[in-house]
Structure formats: C-alpha cells, structure tokens
C-alpha cells in the first residue's frame, strides 16, 4: 500500500484550524469596529465635566 503523505484526518484538522482562525480574525475585526463606533459617538453623558477640573 502506498504511503499517503497527507491523511484525510489532516485535511479535517486543517479545515478546523482554518475555520477557527477565520472566526478569531472576524472577532478581532468586530471588537475593533465596535470600539471605533463607541469612541466616535458624540452623545456620551458620563464624560468628565470641565468645571472644577482645571486648577
């Protein structure tokens, strides 16, 4: 029997790792996007007040 360089198992494992990698990359992009949206918001109500801050 010929020796298989790559077993079917390795293909499955690679698919799984690739899928997980893509999920993680998407998650990073999502957290970055959410951060940008939240930082860009102008309606913050809990921003520190200027009065009393300057000494």
């Amino acid at each position: 029997m010929a020796i298989q360089v790559e077993h079917e198992l390795h293909k499955r494992r690679r698919g799984r790792n690739l899928g997980l990698g893509l999920v993680l990359a998407a998650f990073v992009a999502m957290v970055f996007g959410l951060t940008m949206v939240k930082v860009a918001r102008t309606d913050f109500s809990n921003a520190p007040k200027a009065a009393g801050g300057d000494k």
Partner: protein, 312 residues
C-alpha cells in the same frame, strides 16, 4: 494492531469545523437571527448599523450555544430518534465533552459581548434565554411533562424581545406581544410535527402530548392553542409596531391557520395514515410561513416608516 493500522485508522472523534457548526443548530439560529433583527429594527430607537449587526450576531451565538448544550444533554434521546440520529454527537463526530465546552464557552462569550456591545438588560435576557432552554426545557421539562414545548417555547420566543432591548434598553408592550406571538405559536407548530413523527418521540420516551394523551387530544390542543393565538396575533396589528400591511397579512394567515387546525381536528387516524399525514404536514409547513410572514410584515412596517408609509 500494526504500525500501519495506527496511521490509517481515522479517529471517530476527529471532527470537522462544520460538525461544530452543526452543534449550534444553524436552522434554529436563522430563526433567532430573523426574529431578533425584526425586534431590533421595529424598535423606535435607532441603533448604529454595526452595533445592530454585532448584537444580532451575539444573540445568534447565544442561541447556538444553548443548542450545543441541548445536544450535549440529549445525546441519548437524539441517538434514538430518526430525525436527530445524524447530529454530531450520536453520529460519533464530536464528543460530549467538546459539545459541553463549546456550549458553555459560547454562552459566556455571547452574553458578555452583548452586554458590552449593547446593554446589560439585553445581555441578561440572553443569559436567561440560554438558561431557560438548556436547563428548564432540556434538563427538566422535556423528559418530565407533555407541557414541555408549551413552557419551553418561551426560550424560542425571547429573541425579538432581546433585539428590542438592544435598541431601547427596556421591555415594553410591543416586545411582550412579539414574545407572546412566538410563545403561543410554538405548541401548534410542534404538535403538528409530533403527529407525523410520533414513533420517534415514543421510541425515545419523550412525553410528547401524542404519546401521553393520544392523537385525538393533540388534535384538540392544536385547535385550542390556534384559537388563542389568532386574536393575539391580530391584536398586535393595533400596536405601534404594526400597520395596515401587518393587519392584512395577519388576518389572512390566521384564517388559514384556524382552518388548518379545524381540518386537523376533523380527521381521524385512519384517514391520516392513508394519506401519509398530508393535512398535518401542510399545517406544519403553513406554521413556518405563518411566523415568517408575521415578522416579515413587522419588518416591512418598520422599513416603510421613514417614508411615512408604514405604521398607523
């Protein structure tokens, strides 16, 4: 075992990426995504599109996580039932431990991320939904009472309420009505399925109404719940999330749904077996369309509102 056999044997638990996705019940997830998105878009408070997208995704991941926990706990039932025997755990593709780990991890992840992206009320509702589906329904009700899907239906009814909470940060009459619509729709939908899949539930020892009280009683129950559902669905047509489109769609669908339930009641088992449960299967298909079109109509009303066309 020779060295060669070690290298050629395939580990039955070496899962593919798709097997883990299957644990999340993608078809149920699609319903969760749709109803949560409608709840979010129908709300009177605008949400940034990216926040809305992420929130719906986290709600879907939470729903998927509860599906994985359900498959982890119900592996014995799933193996017996024809409909579920090919799920990743009974098929030997994913181990129970992996399913549990995935379910717990994604549950925590989805709740925390929804809290950070939207608000903590929405996150709390999502956490409660996961708890309700995985613990109250799967571990307790499903194997104990024929009312399992009546009470357990609440888990599937929460997504539009969570979507609404993402936008408004609260709960209101409209979101409760969207919840009630799915909650009351669930029993007739699943009992119709149980009528033509009865042998499955019987073999697995799940106390579905068809198994404990018989088919005659199930047919009666379908009609009773449909008669309660109809005024509730049509009544929603007079609230702020609705308008003429919803009302027209709802009246037509409810007429068809009540007629379908009456047809189911009128049949006896001899007729049903003879035509392979044609009426019951048609009612089940109609029930899917029923929910999709009701929420589609709410979405249409919300989409047309900016042009002064949707709503009352």
């Amino acid at each position: 075992m020779s060295d060669a056999s070690i290298n050629t044997e395939t580990d039955p638990l070496e899962a593919e990426f798709g097997d883990f996705l299957a644990l999340l019940k993608p078809r149920v997830m699609s319903l969760v995504v749709f109803t949560a998105a409608v709840g979010l878009l129908a709300a009177p408070v605008p949400v940034h599109p990216f926040v809305a997208f992420c929130s719906v995704l986290f709600i879907a991941v939470g729903g998927g996580a509860s599906g994985a926990l359900n498959m982890w706990y119900d592996h014995d039932i799933d193996a017996v039932m024809k409909r579920t025997a090919r799920r990743p755990i009974p098929a030997g593709k994913v181990s129970r431990g992996d399913a549990l780990a995935l379910g717990l991890t994604l549950s925590g992840f989805a709740v925390v991320m929804l809290g950070l992206a939207a608000n903590w009320l929405a996150a709390g509702l999502l956490a409660f939904t996961i708890f309700f589906y995985a613990v109250v329904y799967t571990m307790w009700l499903k194997r104990w009472t024929p009312q399992n899907i009546v009470i357990g239906g609440a888990a599937g009814a929460f997504p539009p309420m969570i979507g609404w909470a993402v936008a408004t940060g609260g709960v209101s009459v409209e979101s409760v009505l969207m919840f009630a619509l799915i909650f009351m729709w669930t029993p007739p939908h699943f009992w119709a399925l149980a009528l033509f899949m009865n042998s499955d539930y019987e073999a697995a020892g799940v106390p579905m109404l068809t198994v404990t009280h018989g088919r005659r009683a199930t047919r009666r129950h379908i009609l009773v719940y449909t008669l309660i559902l109809a005024p509730l669905a049509i009544g929603t047509g007079f609230t702020a999330i609705s308008g003429p489109i919803y009302l027209a769609v709802s009246v037509l669908l409810n007429l068809a749904f009540v007629k379908g339930a009456v047809d189911i009641l009128r049949r006896d088992e001899t007729h049903a077996v003879a035509d392979k449960y044609r009426v019951e299967k048609r009612f089940f298909a109609l029930s899917l369309l029923y929910l999709f079109l009701h929420f589609g109509a709410i979405l249409a009303e919300a989409a047309l509102r900016p042009w002064g066309l949707g709503g009352w």
